[in-house]
Amino acid sequence: MADVAAVADPILKIDKLSKIYPGGLKALDEVSLEIRRGEIFGLLGPNGAGKTTLIGAVCGMVRPTSGTIHAFGSDLARNWRGLRSRIGLVPQELGFDMFDTVERQVGYSRGLFGCAPDRGRVEEVLRSLSLWDKRGEQIRKLSGGMKRRVLIAKALAHDPDLLFLDEPTAGVDVELRRDMWRQIDTLREQGVTIILTTHYLEEAEEMADRIGVIDKGRVLLVDDKHAMMRRLGRTEARFTLADRMDVLPAYLDPFGLTLDPAGTTLCYRGGDGTGRGKQEVAQIARLLTQQGILFTAIEQRESTLEDIFVDLVENGVAA
């Protein structure tokens, strides 16, 4: 399914990028990453992992200590003027002139990035983010979620080909978040490449094509979302037994179950994200019933990206 051309010609190529802050903190440690044209890339990592620093290095807020960045096939350090006009950024934190009005701010962003004034385009962007009714409002009077949309509108005003969203839905309610996901989908259809960071793992799972896991400045793993689920996906099930069990019977051997010390809970961990885990759980339940072993409850859950992520961060790249 990988688009050969896209892989061969990444829209963004980061090579051995390191950033050591003046205090001596190594926020990025030889990060290498390739972003494909047209994809949505999810950058996942705990607080302080280096996500914002990585984005900052590409967008010009952070001066890399070493390493290179190529965007659209050209060296960003050398051709920044031409390249930056094609890159958009929605920062993690709100930052704008709160006393200015929505429409003026968005128009300003467009001009700042070198585009000719175009009220029609600004209107389009504002409408697509449901901000048109608020166009004359001072930004400080908008709600937090609306302010965040203004940030997005500002980033979209110059029609970037590569868009960074640094935790775009932090502090945004569920409905607004779904709205933004739709917005991101629309952008993808228009061919915009999107790199997003998020603490809502649900969001990366929902939105991203590929996911990169970053911690302590190092990229631990980059993979297709589904491949990652297949590779690391787990089904977890707990059978609560009606009567105490002393030893695991032989017929359960193939499933690698564990019995808790009290002998009343059977634990299953297995599967690979393809559904095999669920089938095995059903099989175990059937076997137990056939053998006349009563259980009073089954708790079953699929591990989410979050579990995978915690697993990776805690145990390194185990898989």
Partner: protein
């Protein structure tokens, strides 16, 4: 190659910011200038002899104008660049395809424009109180523009250097205002006795006030070419400092 659209966008954005506060930013200086004229021009000036053939009330016009120009240019430009740093809006400027030229022309140009408007308002206000003529209007305009640009540049540097609002006020308050008052705003440095006269010549503001006074009345403490030279040198130093700031990313990029 400079990005004109970006430059224009920054310039207009800054002017829009000024427009929001136009009343306050005009009323303050006009009121202050009027007070100076009432106190120094009407009350005290009546008892002063003419200086170099210029009536005292008229004599202080260029000095007062310089006082306002210096403080307003500096504070406007310093606020202009400090505010985005403070609010976090600086991210956009840093991520945009703009370099030192666009940023400088945009911010400093806007601050200088505002200073020019103020200068015009003050000159009109002065007309209400004293009779004065401008001997070399074109040179005066050129000189005012040069000073407005230079001190907007200084303000820009201040705005990048400052890490809090108090520091932003510090330099204008502790350096600019005293130097301006001691720089011959209200007197000719010829009126000073030695060694103060020589000491005064180390005050760069003396050259600025003197230069502007020359464009008004065709005579001044210091040769007009020296005044122009000092101002141009000051402008060049500021531009160099700012170029270095941008190259190293000091206080702007982490």
């Amino acid at each position: 190659m400079i990005n004109f659209r970006s430059t224009w966008a920054i310039y207009l954005n800054e002017l829009a910011r000024f427009r929001r506060t136009i009343f306050g930013s005009l009323v303050g200086p006009v009121l202050t200038t009027s007070l100076y004229f009432i106190v120094f021009g009407a009350a005290i000036g009546g008892r002063m002899t003419d200086i170099g053939g210029v009536e005292y009330g008229a004599f202080i016009v260029p000095g007062l104008l310089m006082l306002t120009l210096l403080s307003e240019s500096t504070s406007n430009a310093s606020f202009g660049i400090y505010m985005p740093r403070f609010t976090g809006a600086i991210y956009e400027l840093l991520s945009a395809p703009v370099g030192v030229a666009e940023t400088l022309i945009g911010f400093v140009g806007a601050a200088a424009t505002k200073s020019l408007i103020l200068a015009a308002v003050i000159l009109v206000t002065a007309m209400l109180f004293v009779d004065y003529r401008i001997a070399h209007p074109l040179l005066a305009l050129l000189y005012i523009m040069l000073v407005a640009a230079s001190f907007s540049l200084l303000g820009f540097i201040l705005g990048i250097w400052a890490e809090g609002f108090e520091k932003l006020q510090l330099v204008p308050l502790l350096i600019l205002t005293p130097l301006t008052f001691l720089g011959g705003t209200f007197y000719s440095i010829d009126m000073l006795a030695e060694p103060w006269r020589t000491v005064a010549l180390f005050n760069p503001i003396v050259y600025l006030v003197s230069g502007l006074r020359w464009t008004f009345y065709g005579q001044a403490d210091v040769n007009i070419l020296v005044s122009f030279g000092v101002t141009a040198l000051f402008l060049a130093v500021c531009v160099t400092i700012i170029a270095v700031i941008f190259r190293t990313g000091w206080r702007l990029r982490s």
